[in-house]
Amino acid sequence: MTDRAALMPRRRELQPDPYVPDYKTSVTRSPALPLLSMESTPSEETGPRFGHSLLGPLDNDLIRNFSEGKALAIGERIRVHGRVLDETGRPVPQTLVEIWQANAGGRYRHIKDTYFAPLDPNFGGCGRTITDDDGRYEFMTIRPGAYPWPNRANDWRPMHIHFSVFGHAFGQRLITQMYFQGDPLIDLCPIAATIRDRSQLYRLVAPLDMQQSRGMDYLAYRFDIVLRGRRQTMFENKPEGM
């Protein structure tokens, strides 16, 4: 039996707006009617769990996982690490973290990406890991390139890594993007700007972490993630009227 306390309501005002005209695709893909809000139920308070048996030895090493260790991906070597916490400040241990990204030239290995930057034969662009008992995770990868995308006539995505995190409850499910400190494209990006509150947006910008970098090898970036928390109370699960 897992923890069944109710989830804290989402702070929707601090999350991105669904409808943002400058991000053109959102115009027809955003609900116009209000969401139905109510307290979470068992369907949101439970969720899938994944064990370490899922992972292969190179799953969190995007520099080597596509070639199965036979060759290295092209690009600036970086280590991305951090912790997954919940809103009460507690670590979220043993939870699956997945990432995906473009290669160093800004090209994704995806059937629908037709940008003419070349594919790297030794870079796939996906990885995954499971947090340890303190909620820590790490990946080795290459710094993804910025790239142009069809929105307004000259829009460019800042360098970014997509993150998918599960937590322990389906209602904690989160997909987001990590940006890099110092990238001037962040402030020009209509997708980043879907988050109205700039102080919230800057939580997605990973700082350079020289202490965790390794000389003659890689630079480190630190990216912490916070998932929804659960209400902490003794007054749960009592039948009506008791």
Binding site: S26, L35, E44, G56, G125
Partner: protein, 199 residues
């Protein structure tokens, strides 16, 4: 002054983008070999107890066009209404599935076991349902909704009861199309807009 409330705030979401498949279901994206198989390929394995059902549908945008690039995750109880991982749950039901809308037709199909009613707090009982989470390019924060079934008694479901405009309840109910098969279309916006959830 008062004591400070020390609480963190959930990390903001960003769109999963058009290439979500690379990270979540790489084989679908044509990226074979990194993982042995895509995560959440099926929510059940051979021998799952209960009725095997198949739900097909599309996700339509505000113009009525089907999304070709969405990814959906589903989460559900087993046939007895027990959540996977809980005591007594059917070991053949993981309850979790990932699937994409087809890049040509826009249809998705979920093959699973029909869940049982789920007990909540304070004696609440939810009619059989499957929870969905939808992400795609243009969706800035994942959309939650539920599939209920037209051949189940939904009259006492506490969530459906909260929907003020009664015709909108229909947007959460899969329609029988044959033995064990259902149709469930999701409308992101406009006429017949699906009820999306914040819970």
């Amino acid at each position: 002054m008062v004591q400070p409330l020390e609480a963190l705030v959930e990390t903001p979401s960003q769109t999963a983008g058009p290439y979500v498949h690379i990270g979540c279901i790489p084989s679908f994206a044509g990226l074979d070999g990194v993982y042995p198989e895509d995560l959440g390929k099926s929510p059940i394995s051979e021998g799952a107890k209960g009725e095997i059902i198949s739900i097909t549908g599309a996700i339509l945008d505000g113009t009525g066009w089907a999304l070709r690039d969405a990814m959906i995750e589903s989460w559900q109880a087993d046939a007895a209404g027990i959540s996977p991982g809980d005591d007594g749950a059917d070991p053949k039901v993981t309850g979790f599935c990932r699937f994409a809308t087809d890049k040509d037709s826009g249809d998705f199909t979920l093959r699973t076991v029909k869940p049982g009613p789920v007990r909540g707090r304070n004696g609440q009982v939810f009619a059989p349902h499957i929870s969905l989470w939808i992400v795609a390019r243009g969706i800035n924060i994942g959309l939650n909704t539920r599939i209920y079934f037209d051949d189940e008694d939904n009259s006492a479901d506490p969530l459906l009861a909260r929907i003020e405009q009664r015709p909108r309840v229909d947007t959460l109910i899969a329609k029988t199309t044959g033995a064990g098969s259902y149709r469930f279309d999701i409308r992101l916006q406009g006429k017949g807009e699906t009820v999306f959830l914040d819970l």
